[in-house]
């Protein structure tokens, strides 16, 4: 096989020149490799079966209940924050779902916010303005080097320690109250206009994207630029407003009202959610800032100079020339930051936010079924992480094509 390559060390390998003979199976590297893999898999399987059966036998012997039937039983506990309707008479399975949605809720928001802050800080670190650059690096070094758990405790203590009790909540703006119980704010109730407005909003977004594509083509063709941002925003905002007006402009403001203990009505953000979101966002944004900075630095300076020579303004150079190229470097490590943020959200238990881990732990304690609850948690986090990775890989392939 190596016969026509240069011989190593000047020796002619005798085997190489002899006519190929039928090699016995155990000397055939491919066959050997396959055999080793098969043995390895078999050993793993046997080990897995052994572990599982011993576990089940042990649990049974000690009178510890096992199995996943408990998921259908009534959970019996309440959950402080839910995105879907949930009551203690619902099943453990639904409780897990509530926890999962809470995890996704805080992670998704955290990812968006951390990305925005991270990009801004990353760019700021490269600023030629001494003060801005220093402030940005101080921020990055501080947030990256303090353990997240401590930061969560800090934010939580700050919110519940410094803000007034809910009885003396401060009105930040009329109808918006801030206190130890969180941020209470009014919501607009659209009544039966809601579905129309929602559809109109979707249509507006689609229209805005279509407009952007059209504008880009036009610019490519004629060189004329259109105010895409303005028109796009107009479309996204305008469509729902028109839909709302057409459906009779129903307007009902649901304002938080002071009750005996807390406020009722309106909507609210709890201090637990706020602290977790702040902590996750700020901590992760430090890492993202560094990724963005290194991504930008990875784009050769010549690119910027060339863009300048074409007469592009600084903002445009960044947006049209540097960032698209930097993205190729940025996206893979960014993905792992997103995964980290999602997994770190499990620290929520420490400050009382009912995320997946918190709900699973409660279930674990109420049912005593540790192995089951932990397996469910692991499976869910694995799925979340793999889906995030899949999405980011897809995105990575898209930006990678930008390369010329």
């Amino acid at each position: 096989m190596r016969s026509d390559g240069p011989s190593r060390g000047g020796f002619v390998q005798p085997a190489a020149v002899q006519p190929p003979r039928r090699v016995p199976l155990w000397r055939n590297p491919t066959a050997r490799a396959v055999a080793f893999q098969a043995v390895a898999i078999a050993v793993l399987l046997v080990l897995a079966v052994y572990l599982v059966s011993t576990t089940i036998a042990n649990l049974e012997q000690r009178g510890i209940r096992s199995g996943f039937d408990f998921l259908e039983n009534e959970a019996g506990f309440r959950i402080g924050e839910t995105l879907i309707p949930y009551s203690p008479s619902d099943s453990y399975a639904r409780a897990f779902l509530v926890g999962l949605l809470n995890t996704i809720h805080v992670s998704a928001l955290g990812i968006v916010l951390a990305t925005i802050i991270g990009i801004l800080v990353g760019i700021a670190r490269l600023s030629r303005n001494w003060l801005i650059a220093r402030l940005a690096s101080a921020f990055v070094e501080t947030v990256r080097n303090i353990p997240l758990l401590l930061q969560l405790f800090f934010w939580y203590a700050a919110i519940t320690g410094l803000l007034p009790a809910v009885r003396d909540a401060v009105a930040v703006l009329p109808g918006i109250y801030l206190s130890k119980s969180g941020l209470m704010f009014p919501v607009v109730k659209l009544g039966n206009a809601f579905p129309f407005v929602a559809i109109a909003l979707l249509l507006g977004i689609v229209a805005a994207f279509a407009f952007r594509t059209w504008a880009k083509r036009r610019q490519d063709r004629t060189g004329e630029r259109t105010p895409v941002l303005l028109v796009g925003t107009g479309l996204i905002v305008g469509f729902p407003i028109v839909a709302w007006l057409v459906s009779g402009a129903p307007l009902e403001l649901d304002v938080p009202e002071k009750g005996r203990f807390t406020y009722s009505g309106g909507s609210s953000v709890t201090p637990e959610f706020l602290a977790l979101l702040l902590g996750l966002t700020i901590y992760t944004s430090g890492f993202i800032a560094e990724i963005v900075r290194s991504g930008i630095l990875a784009v050769p300076w010549g690119q910027t100079e060339a863009a300048r020579a074409l007469g592009l303004r600084q903002g445009r150079i960044l947006r049209l020339v540097v960032l698209p190229q930097a993205l190729r470097v940025i996206v893979p490590p960014l993905t792992s930051q997103y995964l980290n943020l999602t997994k770190n959200s499990s620290l929520a238990v420490a400050i009382g936010y009912p995320d997946l881990v918190s709900v699973a732990n409660t279930s674990l304690n109420q049912t005593g079924q540790a192995i089951e609850c932990i397996s469910i948690m692991m499976a869910i986090y694995l799925t979340l992480s793999l889906s995030t990775s899949a999405f980011m890989n897809w995105y990575n392939r898209r930006v990678a094509l930008v390369e010329r």
């Binding site: 042990n58 005996r260 009382g352 304690n365 540790a370």
Partner: protein, 340 residues
């Protein structure tokens, strides 16, 4: 926490301690020369370590009593502080010989966690504590409140039941750590804290910045029978723990105290007292111990009433009346099975 769960998983997978066999625990304890006891990490009156590292409390004294009976020295106890979340795992995996940590006896726990409750050492009920200046004086007025609660407790379930049964609304703020849940409440994050009423009394007396600022509402919304539990599968050890506790109760029933135990041992004509203190009969032998087992318990730790009064009684900061925990002869629920 996840770690405890993993520990259970690992212990179960590897079969670390193996299924307990009859007598195995007693042998292990004797060989070690100490009882390994799972206790609360800090609940004044029940289980708390002082600045010198000496543990005090009712639950702690139960462990001392077991040690006095089994290894002849009440101080030969290895303390394993456990959170609400860790406790059952620790018992299941063999990390502790007995779990004496304000733990409520419920069917689910008894039937599905691989443990046996022994004897109730404290009859309790769940209650609510609120800041005095809220002006609330009944649990029925709590609709709409935010309630701080620790997860992994019966408390969490009773809370939901009570509000559901009374058609009231509330918002739970659930913490995994006791520390965080206390801090959140005393910081004013919640208007209500809920746990066993004994736990509330303890919190109010020893954790509140100023006990007078907090009131415990009169309602008991559940039954919380608290007592030590042991692993399933070792009936001999189960019996020992049971009878040590009965001995402290029977001692109180017959007026045997730490102060008079020697004198009664020498002079008492009462056959019950004689059997209890090992002057007659073979009570200890039947349990796999020696006949002075109960004598040592009373001598070194005291009878149930003494244990109660010293740790949580009216003269302590916790200040709990005997109430349900008084002897049955005085209208309470404490009743020892006859030692004969």
């Amino acid at each position: 926490m996840r770690l405890t769960g993993l520990a259970v998983a690992a212990a179960a997978l590897l079969g670390v301690s193996g299924p307990a066999m009859a007598g195995a625990t007693l042998d292990a304890v004797k060989e070690r020369g100490a009882v390994r006891c799972g206790v609360n990490s800090g609940l004044a009156g029940f289980s708390i370590a002082d600045s010198q590292g000496r543990w005090t409390g009712l639950d702690v004294d139960v462990c001392r009593a077991i040690a006095a009976a089994v290894v002849e020295d009440a101080e030969k106890v290895e303390w394993v502080p456990l959170s609400a979340q860790q406790r059952f795992t620790a018992l299941q995996s063999g990390e502790v010989d007995v779990l004496s940590r304000n733990t409520t006896w419920t069917l689910t726990r008894d039937a599905s966690l691989g443990l046996h409750f022994t004897v109730i050492t404290f009859y309790d009920g769940q209650g609510f504590m609120v800041p005095a200046n809220l002006g609330v004086d009944s649990a029925k007025d709590l609709s709409g409140a935010e309630v701080c609660v620790q997860s992994g407790t019966t408390t969490e379930l009773n809370l939901a039941d009570y509000f559901r049964a009374n058609g009231m609304e509330f918002k739970p703020v659930v913490f995994e750590s006791f520390e965080e849940s206390k801090t959140a409440f005393f910081n004013g994050r919640c208007q209500v804290y809920t746990t066993d009423r004994s736990g509330l009394a303890s919190l109010r007396a020893s954790d509140a910045p100023n006990p007078k600022d907090y009131v415990i509402l009169p309602e008991a919304i559940s039954k919380e029978p608290l007592g030590p539990a042991v692993r399933r599968g070792d009936d001999e050890w189960f019996s020992i723990v049971k009878w040590v506790i009965y001995a402290t109760i029977e001692a109180e029933e017959y007026g045997v105290t730490q102060a008079n135990v020697d004198e009664l041992k020498a002079n008492s004509e009462n056959p019950v007292v004689q059997r209890l203190l090992g002057v007659s009969g073979e009570m200890g032998k039947l349990l796999g111990l020696d006949n002075e087992w109960a004598y040592r318990v009373i001598k070194q730790v005291g009878n149930y009433g003494e244990i109660y009064d010293r740790n949580v009684g009216p003269d302590t900061p916790i200040g709990l009346d005997r109430g349900m925990n008084d002897l049955w002869t005085r209208g309470g629920l404490m009743y020892a099975m006859p030692i004969r």
